[in-house]
Symmetry: C2
Subunit: 476 residues, 2 copies
């Protein structure tokens, strides 16, 4: 359906759309209140049905999406009744992200879509409750979703193992699509931030820098065995990445009436028709996420006041926005900063987002990350790889929390201009002859340079250990 709709929107031709309509009609005839009372094992068609409704305005497709959603959690169950299929409870009552992670994200997208199109708040409540569960208690710092290989599933709250993380690329993409829907509904910056986190980390890691190989699972630590593959028997992730990357321009900004929201920053020409007033056309120039300066040049503007909303990420304390000669200092973070004015060609807006390297900690309930930190700069999560630490065991590296981190250029990682470099330490007792368990003793710390590369760029060089979460040096 999505391909057919995209084809129709892009070309105006109905050839593929008509095929999808015939298929959708067949499904509507086969499954429905007066036909077979069934639903799918892998949610996906629900959100496609809503999109087909949007394209055709044929209400049957929206009704079918609602029907397929409502069939979950019935007694007796129609798809087995298990949390794996999110069939354990009626969808309106689901509030915990459980079961197969990709299925859950597509289910939640459909819940948000149906809530938006029908106004039925019950679906929206579930979409939001599930989001809080998934993103506030069950998401990796990379935006990855799904802690368990078993069932490719969400774990319990705070169950976020690093080495055995499943974090399927498709689940991060599904989470991105889900957050997008809640962003459009609410306008709240936290949803855009979740999208950005997933995009630059959990999703982008799914494809090699040369675009030739893919990850299905995206662990946050590894011993050098997990490598991208050219293809998979169940090949959902590669085309899903392709679809997302090709449709990225559509996620940069969104407009409503006389307002425009910029959700993330990339060099782009943005062209919007302000209803009844004319064209708003501007150029964004930035090296974001490597640099925090974003320059917006107005090329054409309607002769009415327009509100421009710029998202200030939660980590960008001390950001400023200059609109012409007016400068707003220290704007609120984790929110959209808004300016309303009659823009004119030649106007320039400069946003400055400070790009500090932050040491991120996890909630103490995340057992795998106790005493560890992740290095994050802007939206980009970093990791250490064996390739940058010859002769040193990655597992023996530790972070000095007082250290400063320099941004240094790095070679061998195309599209990845620099790495973070700081003074950390390695400890003795890390070799193969060291005892498995021993009485605690002073650590024999030796200063060592630690180089951290963007997580999305890992496993693009020779195979070796990788870790996102690094231990902090301990006192004796």
């Amino acid at each position: 359906y999505q391909a057919a709709i995209a084809h129709h929107r892009a070309t105006g031709r109905r050839t593929l759309l008509d095929v999808s309509i015939r298929l959708a009609d067949h499904i509507c005839t086969t499954f429905g209140p007066t036909a077979r009372r069934g639903t799918d094992g892998h949610q996906e068609i629900e959100l496609a049905m809503v999109e087909l409704f949007r394209e055709t305005r044929d209400r049957r497709y929206l009704d079918e999406a609602v029907f397929l959603l409502e069939m979950r959690g019935q007694q007796p169950p129609v798809v087995g009744g298990s949390p794996y299929h999110q069939d354990h409870l009626p969808v309106r009552e689901q509030a915990e992200a459980v079961g197969h992670a990709v299925r859950l994200t597509y289910l939640a997208c459909a819940l948000a879509d149906v809530a938006m199109e029908t106004g039925d708040k019950g679906f929206g409540v579930a979409a939001h409750a599930l989001w809080a569960s998934a993103f506030e208690r069950k998401a990796y710092v990379t935006g990855g979703l799904g802690a368990r290989w078993q069932g490719e599933a969400f774990g319990e709250d705070y169950e976020l193992p690093n080495d055995t993380a499943y974090a399927e690329t498709c689940a991060a993409i599904g989470g991105f699509m889900w957050s997008w829907r809640l962003l459009i509904e609410t306008g709240e910056a936290r949803f855009a931030e979740a999208m950005e986190t997933a995009l630059y980390n959990g999703i982008l890691a799914g494809v090699s820098l040369d675009g030739e190989a893919y990850f299905y699972q995206n662990p946050l630590s590894d011993r050098g065995r997990h490598r991208r593959q050219p293809w998979f028997g169940t090949a959902c992730c590669p085309p899903n990445i392709a679809r997302l990357l090709m449709s990225l321009p559509g996620y940069l900004a969104s407009g409503s009436d006389k307002a425009l929201h910029l959700h993330t920053y990339a060099s782009a020409l943005i062209d919007v028709i302000v209803p009844g007033a004319g064209r708003l056309h501007f150029a964004v120039e930035t090296a974001y996420p490597w640099d925090g300066t974003v320059t917006i040049d107005v090329l054409d503007a309607p002769d009415v006041p327009v509100t421009l909303h710029l998202r200030i990420p939660s980590w960008a304390e001390g950001s400023s926005v200059a609109v012409g000669a007016q400068v707003a200092e220290d704007v609120s973070v984790g929110a959209y900063w808004a300016v309303t004015r009659r823009f004119a060609s030649g106007d320039r807006i400069v946003l400055d987002l400070p790009m500090r390297t932050r040491l991120i900690e996890a909630h103490p309930r995340v057992a795998s990350n106790a005493g560890r930190v992740a290095l994050v700069r802007g939206p980009v999560v970093h990791c250490v790889e064996a390739a940058d630490h010859p002769g040193v065991e990655v597992s023996s590296l530790a972070i000095d929390p007082q250290a400063g981190w320099d941004v240094k250029s790095i070679e061998g990682l195309p599209g990845c201009p620099h790495a973070l470099v700081g003074v950390g330490a390695t400890r003795g007792g890390s070799g193969p002859t060291a005892p498995l368990h021993h009485t605690r003793a002073p650590k024999d710390w030796r200063a060592a340079m630690v180089t951290a590369v963007p997580y999305f760029a890992w496993a693009n060089r020779e195979a070796g250990a990788m870790a996102v979460w690094l231990p902090v040096m301990q006192p004796d």
Copy 2:
């Protein structure tokens, strides 16, 4: 077989032994060089065949054990060729503990048995190489074996997750039996120490303090969901514990010619016939492992010099042994301390093993334990439980490495006289509303009493979180 042999040894009656001989004969006729070339899927009969050989001196049973061992790792494979069944390599070439953990331990017991009875060194080399793999790189601090639920299997080197540890009770028992065989072969104290670690921790945790319920898996941390069960569909663990506990007296000591080794300490009457010289009879009195004083009173002794070997655990720095008025101070640890003399009734030997609370660290490659310590006193691994920390999240507790630990009596845990109590800390930001990920900040430490109970006693009170490995407080 073992029941039949035990019955025969205890009663002298052949009723059960004859049954087992007929069954063994049937197996020998069915599987062998001139019959079916097969072997078992779950190793167990090999070590039983050796024991039947020892009891009957019928060489066919030893040959059958060798045959069954040699059938593993053949091309084409006879039991699937997988590491799960230890069928991936000929047994003499196996050097890494892989696959189903219980199967591996029984295989290794048989390798050691066959090596001892046949003198074939290849089997012994494998038994030792596998032991190094299992106990020096893949064992929990509790003596538990088997990191993975998937396949109830060993993980990779240093793969020792706490919450998802499988650590089947039977695997700890199998490891105990295996270490016993290598101890008898070599006389090296490290094997006895591994047995003691397993006994007081990984094995004993397998049964509730009231003896009514059992653990199959023995994780090293839990959220309060894992509880002992009265029985299991596959009920290997409960009778295995019963067998081991009933046969414990046989593991306390072993004799050879005019020497006696005491491998661990418990109040007991030990009665040995010194070949050609007479009876050596003495009483051991101790509250070990709660107290390190062991008093040995000679009740009867032959009129020849006898060597008494007392094991000094590796953790017992500063131990002393008084033989009458002679005191040996600061004896070597991780070894047997020996005294040779003509003992006489009325002689007293007093061994003093200092029982300090040690903070144990894991090898830095054990990702789950970075920045964490385990509290161990004597051979007893401790853990913290929610029951002793009302109103505090176990995951928020941290250890002050400078703290002292008091031994205090505790109620509600029959057979478990005391707990360790020390000043640690809890940290803020540990509740359900705290963010999943946040920028590192000073920790808001608050001093808190930490109570640690023996690991074997966990989950005997109301359900709640448990952890063996606790984070060490970090500097800001």
